[in-house]
Amino acid sequence: MSAVPMGDDVAGVPAASNRTDAVVSVRDLEVQFKTPIGLVRALNGVTFDVQRGRVLGIVGESGCGKSVTARAIMQIIEPPGKIHGGSIVFHRPSGQDDGEAASQILSEDAADTAAAKAIRSGSVEITTLDPRSPEMRSLRGAEIAMIFQEPMTSLNPVYTVGAQIEEAVLLHQTSDKEEARRRAVDMLRQVGMPNPEGAAQSFPHQLSGGMRQRAMIAMALSCAPTVLIADEPTTALDVTTEAQILELMRQLRDEIGMSIMFITHSMGVVAQLCDEVIVMYLGRVVERASVDEIFYNPKHPYTRSLLRSIPRIGSERKAPLEVIKGSVPDPYAQLPGCPFHPRCPDFIPGTCDSLVPLETSVGADHGVRCHLYPGSTPTTAGEES
């Protein structure tokens, strides 16, 4: 991938991220679904890093592959989906510092676990692991945890919330039942559950949507994972509850340095929570930058159109919104060239519909895949200008 640095024509906000401190590195990831009707290329070479202690937002519309990306990292893609190429590397904490930081807040007695984790330090290539192997199973939950849009899919309706968290703790951390129980209640308290003792003894269906989401987050956090993948956790919630969950996410990042990969379709949520953002469209990353750059200096026509088309409080009422023509193409249709070209306001005939743009740098830590920017067109034409 030829990334031609653009230099200083862009007033980029200096990104605070340190490129070397990635917890999860995804490179050229390809996922395909072979269905009876046709081949769906759900991911077409997706590359990004989740930085330690930061929130990476993955934003995109239906069919852009954001959920598939999350599921690929967890190795829980539904059949017939298969990882077809690329790599996903999970970088374990190099020292004990992370473990200690987490242990101080999560639980006083988690230090032994953190120490145990440190022993198994080093990087893991997730794509080479068998999804059912013990290595993958111990990675899932204990080191990378995931929460979903619908909490009922990951909570078992026949056990109390407390019992389910205890089970996770017993599986990965301690064998002392009393201790596990204490930690379960502790976990529920940490995610802001009012009356955590009561909540621990409730069944999932007895809790409201927001409380269920908190219970699921408590379960996901019970083993002090390094990375939390959140797949649209607030989409099914009301705004007031959504605000609470976003606040909880911020606390997790700021207080225990959790690395979060937050998947959403809401630009508002991205703006309020994320540090870095990748914008996906039809299985490709079209733009990647800090949140400020994405909102104040978007480069890709898709990002720009998307930002202009959302109704904003305070904008002139009744004025027609700017629209992106057409709709997200059928997943079976594999478009040549840039996937956005049929809807793009800046479409360049002959280039956009035939050549897949490469990622090019348009500022500090700001990459874009669009033929409008020099270095993106994979021929010499791009280099000339």
Binding site: A271, Q272, L307, I313
Partner: protein
Amino acid sequence: MDTTPLLEVTGLKKHFPIRGGLLRRQIGAVKAVDGVDLTVARGETMAIVGESGCGKSTTGRTIMRLEQPTGGEVVFHDTKLGPVHVENANSRTMRQIRPNMQIIFQDPFSSLDSRMTVGRVIAEPLKINNVLSGRQLKDRVAELLSLVGMRPEHASRYPHAFSGGQRQRIGIARAIALNPDLIICDEPVSALDVSVQAQVLNLMEDLQRKLDLTYLFISHDLSVVEHIADRVAVMYVGQVVEVGTTHELFYSPKHPYTEALLSAVPQPDPRNRTRPTALTGDVPSPANPPSGCYFHTRCPYAQPICSEERPPLRSLGGGQQAACHFADELNLAGAVVNAIPSIDEPTRPAVQNGSAAVDAAAVSTTEQHHEES
């Protein structure tokens, strides 16, 4: 704008019985809608906002009499029949006024019968009411399709061939087929992709102007409501807690719940990160609402009187109404105005071939468009 009301709703109630025991006797009721007052003027867009379970959708369906109201009055001012009491109209009267009140649904998948071609879906209301037939019916369907921005030849296709946004357009075509006065829009853009929402919102506004439509716009999305509505009613646990013009309600809310809702909207601006007013606790169950003001269990300004006495919805001047004991005293924060970052157009690389001029024209129109908004 014409100020004569098109729709007057007074004390509307819809209770769903909870049955139990061997004989399935009623042992309680979910008070989904519990005394809603609304007035919708001809030609305006009245929005109902609220969180899930607040009864906003049920209110819409009860007004349409898709659900039989438990109590209250719904008066629809029909152009021909004059004021009609919808809640107890006989079936003959209902048949006459039905064409004037139509509905658009949230789910673009459940709202179209997958066994019918798009043409049949749109023609159905016309056929039911024996308005047109044969050639004229076909022409009308084609006309409706082009009105909503689709091609007439789409009539022979089945709904599964279309995307969510296109399906929503088909649903809108069906709703306007009978030239209604009032359209109840039940979360019409919530299930759509972000990039398609704007298309459908623009279409709805466009049709409102062309066809003199009145919208009762039900939504949970305050940004969308602020964009489209003239007036807004906020619902909480089956009741309207505040009504006002969009500007009043968004920038000087009088009910603490409105304030909390507004502060919770995630603003699409990373330089304007808000810490929303944290509401404690959960939305009360409409089967067992609390005493007094339903919001007192979560209200940051609650006083002893709030748990004892239910505040009525009262006028606060300028058409704004709120159901709060302290509506006059509280100084509540309105919505944060969102500065729209100006986005510069990218400089296009030099294009060698002849299409450059066309492209440049395309870019400039987009620019103009942007400046307008």
